[in-house]
């Protein structure tokens, strides 16, 4: 039976939810508004910004002229896709092994992997920086791709492990009886069955890699700098340029926001995969 909810409660709940939603979205909205204002207008009081100033696309032009947006954009695409692909190549066999042929220490290995995420990244900055310097990987796309893959690898393995665990072992045994080699078993049976999970792992990892700011800022200079570095370059010692910073931010988050919007159904399906049978 449906629970009875009074109209008053419904209105109140909707108002609270709406307000909270608006508060969470407000910073993004403000970035969007400021990115279309001049620098002088952008530092005015909020109400004045909204009602007494004009609109302009000058910021976007300036930003593109000053720092090549498309170069940073393509760097972001390369490192987020690259690190995801590389991560999957390593994580699928790892998760397969842990899900279907668990050993005595499998649980410990999983916990250890997760524990690496508990350490602040700055703790390993110096060693990694030195390794990168000595191997010539500083400010290189390959270096950055590998680092982002490594920091997200525990999450990829954990997610895939969880999805694989949902797949009954008997089905894989049936495939083995039917003559499938390990490669074919993964390709024809495991991967299609875990597809919602694999897809959401890919999406989440792309988002994480796209937004990652610590390593991308510390290990790049000009060549391999992705969009995070592009935004950061607008917060400079000479002063803040709110309108340009907003325009740069909007340009940096727009692609991932659009991708997230179109894939949200897939993302939710994957993240709740197996929760309800």
């Amino acid at each position: 039976m449906a629970r009875a909810v009074s109209t008053r409660t419904k209105v109140l709940n909707t108002a609270i939810a709406g307000t909270l939603g608006f508060l969470m979205f407000f910073p993004i909205l403000w970035i969007i508004i400021l990115s279309f204002k001049t620098e002088e207008d952008a530092i005015r009081a909020p109400l004045e910004v909204l009602f007494q100033s004009g609109w302009t696309i000058e910021n976007f032009l300036t930003v593109q002229a000053r720092s090549d947006y498309f170069k940073h954009f393509s760097n972001s695409v390369i490192i987020s896709l690259g690190s995801t692909l590389l991560g999957l190549i390593i994580a699928i066999p790892a998760a397969w092994a842990m899900a279907f042929v668990p050993a005595k220490r499998t649980k410990d290995v999983l916990m250890w992997m997760l524990s690496t995420k508990m350490m602040p990244p700055v703790g390993v900055l110096v060693p990694i920086y030195l390794i990168f310097r000595d191997t010539g990987l500083l400010d290189s796309l390959i270096g950055l791709t590998v680092v982002l893959m490594l920091i997200n690898l525990p999450i990829i393995i954990w997610m895939l492990y969880t999805y694989f665990r949902e797949i009954p072992g008997e089905i894989l045994e049936a495939a083995r009886m039917d003559g499938a080699t390990l490669k074919k078993e993964i390709l024809y049976v495991l991967a299609p069955m875990a597809l919602p999970g694999i897809a959401s792992t890919i999406l989440l990892n792309i988002i994480l890699a796209w937004n990652e700011a610590f390593w991308t800022l510390n290990l790049t200079a000009a060549n391999a700098a992705p969009l995070t570095a592009f935004i950061a370059s607008y917060s400079s010692p000479e002063g803040l340029f709110f309108a340009k910073l907003s325009a740069a931010s909007l340009m940096a988050i727009a692609p991932i926001l659009i991708m997230g919007w179109f894939s949200q159904k897939q993302l939710v399906r994957g993240l709740t995969f197996g929760a309800v049978k």
Binding site: E170, I171, A174, A175, R176, M177, D178, A180, P192, M193
Partner: protein, 332 residues
């Protein structure tokens, strides 16, 4: 061909020995049923034959060739799982064709074989459906279809009917038996249900704690069980066991008498009070508290007008006694 020989097969998981030592010969074309209570090692034994588990030691020969260390696919066996284990993302057609595709068979040959199997199993109208759109019985038939297209040396069935309801189970039981008569291929069938074992098998292997208790045809096991375990396991309702002075009178440490071998008569040697009475019409099952002996199950043909609390007199059929020594072995 499908002759399977197990020589001194042992299996242990860590320190736990599941199968201490088994020797068994399965002839070509036989329908062999492994039966036993849960945890007796029957499924493990099947998985060892399938190659899904590795033997700890011993030898498995298929058609005279050593298959002990062959991977499952190379053994030429097909398996039907308890959960059906169909590929949920593939149509019925693709499910059945999967082993053929793995074997690299041509599309045309795949199609003709799948259609032949579908015809045998009444699946022709369902070939383009997904397993999720089928009933339990149909799913089971798809699983069998996937097994028969390969034309294997032997079929392995791991409790294939336990997920079906009672009526379907009887129907599928007959279908599998008929399939065996048509194909004449070796079948090894694992079940905990002794009715399935009795009705389907050419040869029953009774397992207990990883050991073979007895191997024989259904009626051999029924007529001459070698020990108390087999005597108690085969037959429904269970055989009655009597110990003490009454047993000594008949010349054994324990005597067994099947419920259907006790007659309700006037002036029989045993008298007792009816406890539970189950009237099925065709048969009547009585639980009788016999004076000085204990509770005995009695099965009578047809309708018997005895109910809870009635006094009855019973006569065991003298030539139907099973005598066991104090170690539980048959004394015949």
């Amino acid at each position: 061909m499908g002759k399977i020989t197990l020589k001194n097969v042992k299996k242990a998981f860590g320190d736990v020995s599941v199968i201490p030592d088994i020797n068994l010969q399965i002839e070509n074309g036989e329908f062999v049923v492994f039966v036993g209570p849960s945890g007796c090692g029957k499924s493990t034994l099947l998985r060892l034959i399938a190659g899904l588990e590795d033997v700890t030691s011993g030898l498995i020969e298929i058609d005279g060739k050593d298959a002990t260390h062959l991977p499952p696919a190379k053994r030429g066996l097909a398996m039907v799982f308890q959960s059906y284990a169909l590929y949920p993302h593939m149509s019925v057609r693709k499910n059945i064709a999967f082993p053929l595709k793995m074997a690299g068979m041509s599309e045309a040959e795949q199609t003709s074989r799948v259609e032949r199997a579908a015809k045998v199993l009444n699946l022709t109208n369902y070939l383009d459906r997904r397993p999720g759109q089928l009933s339990g019985g149909q799913r089971q038939r798809v699983a069998i279809g996937r097994a028969i297209v390969r034309e294997p040396a032997a079929f392995l069935f791991d409790e294939p009917l336990s997920n079906l309801d009672a009526a379907l189970r009887v129907g599928m039981r007959q279908e599998i038996t008929e399939l065996h008569q048509t194909l004449k291929t070796t079948m090894i069938y694992v079940t905990h249900d002794q009715v399935e074992a009795m009705t389907m098998a050419d040869k029953i292997v009774v397992l207990n704690a990883g050991n073979i208790e007895q191997v024989g045809s259904p009626l051999e096991l029924y007529r001459s069980p070698v020990n108390l375990f087999v005597a108690g396991f085969i037959g429904s309702p269970k055989m009655n066991f009597v110990e003490g002075t009454e047993a000594a009178k008949h010349g054994g440490a324990t005597i067994g008498i099947r419920p259907e071998h006790i007659d309700i008569v006037e002036g029989g040697p045993w008298t007792g009070t009816v406890g539970l009475s189950e009237h099925l019409g065709s048969d009547t099952f009585l639980k009788v508290q016999v004076d000085g002996i204990g509770t005995l199950n009695v099965r009578a043909s047809g309708e018997v007008g005895r109910h809870h609390g009635d006094r009855v007199s019973l006569a065991p059929q003298a030539d139907k006694f099973h005598r066991f020594n104090k170690d539980g072995r048959s004394m015949k």
